[in-house]
């Protein structure tokens, strides 16, 4: 424990700015993964244990696209689109078969694909870790704001994530599809009674979730090393996020992600050896205080 480091940082603006932004950066990537998780749970009532794999595929797709084309934009696009398609297929072909069955069966199917996907990646891209490399456009000096250091690339990253959050929020609240999705979440029977193809909605939501995770992976690819099983630690963290925020709540995912981000960035100052423990501790506390998470609806 090193509390004076923490208090020292809280005293200086420079440190505050930097640590807060680094918290934001960690949080935002986490949010992209977690929000997909929470969407899928909210609508399909499925705990998508294989969500980390989509993050992984996003990163690998992006890397390959980038190495082939050299275009960063294209890399992002491939990462997102590829995983979206993957998600759609995965849901239609496999998950849709186990909706009736109990939760554990669904979990088991996901678990099976965690194993399969990891090995597929190992076959295709090899067991060694890879790196996509930072596109030249972003190889520039970091910005200094109020004494805090912020790399331009991370500004982009935060921007993308925030706009995603915005689009999702508005989309679900305003658009017709959004309304249908929310309706499907609450009462699938009614929706199908209205003659709307629930299968399509489920597939769509899964694709969306996969797309978001893939995008997160793609955005992370330039700064994080790629390796089979890389999705796992991210998965666990985004689980913590969704549980803290409340399964099924998008706002919850956002807040939860930011909280975890900040816990990490400031925890690493105050408790260098127990940063991870802090997250679990926080999760336990939240669950005990509010079993359905900060923004989750109480299940009667």
């Amino acid at each position: 424990m090193d509390l004076d480091a923490l208090t020292g940082c809280l005293a200086s603006t420079a440190c505050l700015v930097t640590q807060t932004t680094s918290g934001l950066i960690i949080g935002m990537l986490l949010f992209l993964v977690a929000v997909g998780l929470t969407l899928i749970f909210g609508v399909l009532k499925v705990v998508n244990f294989s969500h980390g794999a989509f993050y992984m595929f996003g990163a690998y797709f992006a890397m390959t696209a980038y190495q082939m084309s050299g275009s960063f934009a294209l890399a992002m696009l491939c990462g997102a689109a590829g995983t979206a398609i993957l998600g759609l297929v995965f849901e239609r072909v496999f998950m849709s078969r186990v909706y009736g069955a109990n939760v554990l069966m669904q979990l088991l199917v996901c678990y099976a694909f965690v194993l399969i996907f990891d090995d597929v990646v190992r076959m295709v891209w090899g067991p060694e870790f890879r790196s996509m490399g930072m596109p030249a456009a972003f190889q520039v000096m970091p910005l200094f704001i109020a004494g805090g250091v912020i790399p331009p690339y991370y500004l982009l990253l935060i921007g993308v994530a925030l706009s995603m959050a915005l689009i999702l929020g508005l989309g679900l609240a305003r658009t017709r599809i959004g309304k249908i999705i929310r309706a499907a979440a609450h009462n699938p029977g009614m929706v199908s009674a209205l003659g709307i193809n629930t299968g399509l909605i489920y597939g769509g939501v899964f694709a969306l979730g996969g797309m978001l995770a893939g995008l997160a992976g793609a955005l992370a690819a330039p700064v994080r090393s790629l390796t089979p099983g890389m999705g796992f630690s991210v998965l666990i963290e985004s689980f913590i996020v969704t549980v803290i925020g409340g399964m099924g709540s998008i706002l919850g995912a956002l807040i939860g992600a930011l909280l975890i981000g900040l816990i990490r960035s400031f925890g690493s100052l105050g408790f260098p050896l127990f940063t991870e423990g802090l997250m679990y501790l926080f999760m336990v506390i939240v669950l005990v205080a509010r079993p359905s998470g900060l923004f989750g609806k109480e299940i009667a």
């Binding site: 640590q19 996509m132 099983g229």
Partner: protein, 419 residues
């Protein structure tokens, strides 16, 4: 869901279970007579996050074993390697190790496990008394700690303490020259990371007493994002940074530190940088990172070493790793020891191994030695240098002096209460 069951089912299935078990396991597992070929078992990590450890170890072992077999095998017996994946789980490593000996009739073990797995295999070796060479685990206590010591277990691996001594003196020299007084450290939060960092700072301060460490970070092993660590270090504004992150963690860290322009703000000493796994992966490798050598074919700058590196690359179309040379060394030592003992009997070979010195491309002076007292490898090429973005990546490496290393190591052992 559940129905309440008649006891009949439980009985039937119990018996079914038993007989099933019997049938499955009776057939394949009948003790075999000692074969002409000698089998050597090797549990290692071939899947998951560090699969590369296992694959590059396996590559090296097979590469060398082919030579051994081509040269007539061990005491006239052709060698068959039985290599299995432990998935990095210690209980699996232990189980596989036992199975390799008990079932597959392996007469020796190469332990290609890391950290906890290697200790699990060590216990198996202790239990079965079979000859075992640790080929991957750098954890010092595995051989340094007398409580761990067993006569039939050896280690053909570099050690954190050696790196730290050489690194410490190397870094101290630079610290003095450039006046680097404020240091930060960043190490993965597990035994290797903690020990190596502790030892490095110990010797850094010993050679450059006015150095102070102003910031320490302990990211988790395999942590995907190091941003908070990077910024934390930037806050502390040190003049130099020591890190013993390795593999993917190191490359992630470098990529993430790069966009904060960290490397222009401080001297960086990354002991695990000078390994092709990291060197070839990092796309924009910053110039002038100080690193200890893991494996590079240009150090030691001998034709043998270069030839070995090329042979490996020719066969597997990738450069060897730090693990590769350690496993290759294990094979070379074993082959030599068997020749000396003129037998493949575990005890005789163990006796031959103790204190054995062999010619070896990875030796500081062209030879390496299996030190008798703690049955671990010394005399291997060890040194530090600075990186450049392209081949040969680390043009000049300052070799460490084994005389000092051994003196200081002895001291260190005493301080640890190991001797």
């Amino acid at each position: 869901m559940t129905r309440t069951r008649k006891p009949g089912i439980s009985r039937r299935s119990t018996l079914a279970l038993m007989s099933a078990g019997a049938v499955t396991f009776a057939t394949p597992w009948v003790a075999r007579a000692q074969a002409k070929t000698i089998k050597i078992g090797m549990p290692t990590i071939l899947s998951g996050r560090v699969a590369q450890l296992g694959t590059s170890s396996r590559n090296a072992v097979l590469l060398e074993m082919d030579k051994v077999n081509a040269a007539g095998g061990l005491a006239g017996r052709q060698v068959e390697m039985v290599i299995r994946d432990s998935k990095g789980q210690p209980q699996e490593a232990a189980r596989i190790a036992r199975e390799l000996v008990n079932t597959d009739g392996c007469e020796m073990l190469f332990d290609g496990e890391a950290s906890s797995g290697s200790f699990a295999v060590h216990e198996v070796a202790r239990d079965l008394g079979v000859l075992c060479i640790h080929t991957c685990s750098e954890a010092s206590s595995l051989t340094a700690d007398p409580k761990q010591h067993i006569p039939n277990a050896f280690r053909s691996v570099r050690q954190g303490i050696h790196d730290s001594i050489v690194g410490g003196s190397y870094a101290a020299a630079i610290a003095k020259a450039k006046g680097l007084k404020k240091w930060a450290t960043c190490a993965p939060d597990y035994a290797y990371g903690r020990d190596t960092t502790g030892e490095f700072t110990l010797y850094l301060k010993r050679f450059a007493p006015d150095v102070e460490v102003i910031s320490v970070s302990w990211p988790k092993l395999f942590q995907p994002d190091y941003t908070e660590v990077v910024t934390k270090i930037l806050q502390a504004k040190p003049q130099a940074l020591y890190t013993c992150l390795w593999g993917g963690d190191l490359t992630s860290y470098i990529d993430q530190a790069n966009i904060y322009a960290m490397f222009s703000q401080m001297e960086v000493f990354a002991v695990n940088m000078a390994d092709y796994t990291a060197l070839t992966v990092v796309k924009n490798l910053p110039k002038g990172i100080h690193s200890g050598n893991r494996y590079i074919k240009s150090f030691p700058a001998t034709p043998e070493n270069a030839a070995w590196g090329d042979a490996y690359k020719a066969k597997y179309n990738e450069y060897p790793t730090n693990w590769s040379w350690q496993n290759a060394t294990a094979v070379m030592l074993l082959a030599e020891a068997v020749k000396k003992a003129n037998s493949t009997d575990g005890k005789k070979v163990a006796d031959a191994l103790r204190g054995l010195t062999i010619k070896c491309p990875f030796g500081a002076d062209g030879t390496v030695t299996m030190r008798a007292e703690d049955q671990t490898l010394i005399g291997y090429a060890i040194g530090w240098g600075t990186t450049i973005p392209q081949e040969p990546y680390v043009p000049q490496v300052q070799a460490g002096d084994w005389k000092t290393i051994i003196e200081l190591e002895a001291e260190w052992k005493k301080s640890k209460g190991y001797t």
